[in-house]
């Protein structure tokens, strides 16, 4: 195996900006894509977005990528929203070019965390979802590893929204971020990502 290939196949970690080939969907924000491996949201991975307040642009970050995933899928696949804290407002989604027919909202009735995690896993493993967005309070490392494996196997991204306190515990997620709002800009702190150093950037006009 040549040196080029070895480096490209992500088996060797190189500090600094390595050009890694990882399938990714551009987020639509060039500033963010520059710092994400593959130049966008990873296609088959568990992504943790930690935030303490809603309404700071957490969905806007994903919308362009979600719209693209839905457009590309043949046959049509779902975007599953598991236990969203509020109602995803249809006219607003339509304004951002999201296909409303492909959205599925799931509110697990009872069983708390276990139910939610079961739902996410079922959705990913069914092979009929383009992406899964979930709002979970707590999840332990075992659960997260299962989700990460499921996402990798099926090539379906799982975006987990968790409180900022969750960043203190370890997680096998391929990408971990923290979102906060400062002045009129959203600060995106990439706490963990494969092959890159943690960074923090500010995105204006997000929310």
């Amino acid at each position: 195996m040549g040196l080029e290939e070895l480096l490209r196949s992500m088996r060797v970690w190189r500090g600094g900006s390595a050009d890694l080939v990882q399938p990714a969907v551009p987020s639509g924000f060039a500033e963010l894509d520059r710092y994400l491996p593959g130049g966008g949201w990873p296609r088959g991975a568990l992504i943790e977005i930690c935030l303490d307040h809603y309404g700071i642009g957490e969905l806007r970050l994903l919308l362009a990528a979600l719209a693209r995933l839905v457009r590309e899928a043949e046959p049509k696949k779902w975007i599953v929203w598991v236990a969203p804290p509020f109602v995803p407002y249809a006219p607003a989604l339509a304004q951002h070019g999201i296909d409303l027919d492909c959205q599925l909202l799931v509110h697990p009735r009872s069983g708390g965390r276990k139910s939610a995690l079961w739902t996410i896993e079922q959705a990913v493993r069914s092979g009929s979802c383009a992406a899964v967005l979930a709002w979970v309070r707590s999840a332990d490392e075992v659960d997260l590893r299962r989700l990460q494996l499921a996402a990798e196997e099926r090539g379906c991204p799982i975006v987990l929204f968790r409180p900022v306190a969750a960043l203190a515990s370890r997680s096998p997620a391929a990408l971990r971020m923290r979102l906060t709002r400062e002045a009129a800009a959203t600060r995106v702190a990439i706490v963990k990502c494969r092959g890159r150093q943690p960074t923090e950037i500010g995105l204006a006009g997000l929310a």
């Binding site: 309404g55 249809a90 009735r109 079961w118 739902t119 009929s128 009129a184 929310a207």
Partner: protein
Amino acid sequence: MQPLSSPSLFRTDPSPTPREAQEPRRRDLWLAVHLPNLPLEALPGGTARAPTVVAEPVRGQWRVVAANGRARSLGIVPDLPLSSAFALAHALNVLPRSAPAERAVLEALAEWAYSITPLVGVETEASLALEVERSLKLFGGLDPIKALLAEELGRRRLTFHASAAPTVSAAVWLARQRQPDALTPESLPARLGALPIAATGWPPDLRTMLEDMGVRTIGDCLRLPRSGLARRIGRERVRELEQALGLEPTLRTERQPTQRFRDRVELDAETAASDVLVGAAAVLIDRLVPVLRRRQAEIATLSLELEHLHRASTSTVLDFVRPCHERERLLDLVTDRIERLTLPAPAIAVALETGDFRPLSIEPPALFGGGAETPRAIALLERLRERCGAAGVLGIAAAADHRPERAWTSPGRRGALRPGACDGIPSVERPLWLLPEPLPLDSPEARAQYRPPLALQRGPERIESGWWDDGDVGRDYFVATAARGERLWVFRDHRDGVWYLHGLFG
């Protein structure tokens, strides 16, 4: 038409009515299956080890109808008064006869028999007849068909005897007496002649009368003068004899296959273990799927019933998002449901009943507008609905209404029609999150989360609408920024001047 010059078994009297010529007809071969222990085997607890009998009241007195091996070894035989049976065996298990249960077993077997031939009939209360002449070539002879029958009846744990003959009645009579096949019409007189009168299934008083006359076998019956016989036992019975011999055509109404499936499986022992129950349900599904396939049908609902010994059975109904005929999908959903059921007591039997059969749809109706959706997508939907309830799984759609809370709907995912492309999408930016109910900014939760004062960024956008139904609104909407930087969608109600939070710009 020529009068038939058949070998007359009835001496002397020329028949008063002219017989029609028997046109050369394609030969039939009927295979009759007789289930001698059906009253016992159709009931739960009928295959118990203890001496068990099935009894029914005959003219006011309870008599034994069938007895199991242990009971028979103690001397209990059919037709014994029940009191005598109790004298012979103290710890006797008595089950009342259930004609519906027996009928159900026969019907289920008849449904299965459609895999062999389209001409199937339930002939008596304990036998089934299949016309197999036209199936011989496909199955490679009578023996393979008998082998299939033996296998299926073994699986259903029914004792049986099967005999073949050119006419239905002959086959049934031979089967009842456990006689071997009579394959040619020429052999029929001799074979039937040897059978006792009991083989015909005629009522006991008729049998007694014939015995008193010295007639013990069917052959004796046939040697009697026909008109005299007809006077004694009735023309109907004489016609039955002629039909059995093939001298008269047997007119039968074709049995129509049912439009539903109902079957049950009895468990060896009471159990509450879900894997055993799932196994029993799998057996029933394995019986259902070939029926559906044969009938080119699918089902939209399924009802599962778990029977308990001393209480009413537990039943549960499954509704499918899209009609189903595939084994895996049925099994998955039934497994999910059984695992989630809480049983008040261990179950002794599992019964399955489907809704009406629907013709198989060629093109599945699209849940998504336009694209064909895959079975896996449907399967996921059903699994989620099973776990989260039908109300827990929703889609979203835009609706043409100025009032923000009504500008979206959630069609339940039952294959609901698309509300139509919504051209009412506002041009002004809308928040990605909407609160289910507007939250007054004065309320404690709002104060805790979004400390006042809020800086109003954009607005006002006046929305006044809904005077025609009860949802009259008059609001001024603003985009505001909270202390921690969240962007909120708030409004001020005209009528009371109260500020509310309605959405967040996610």
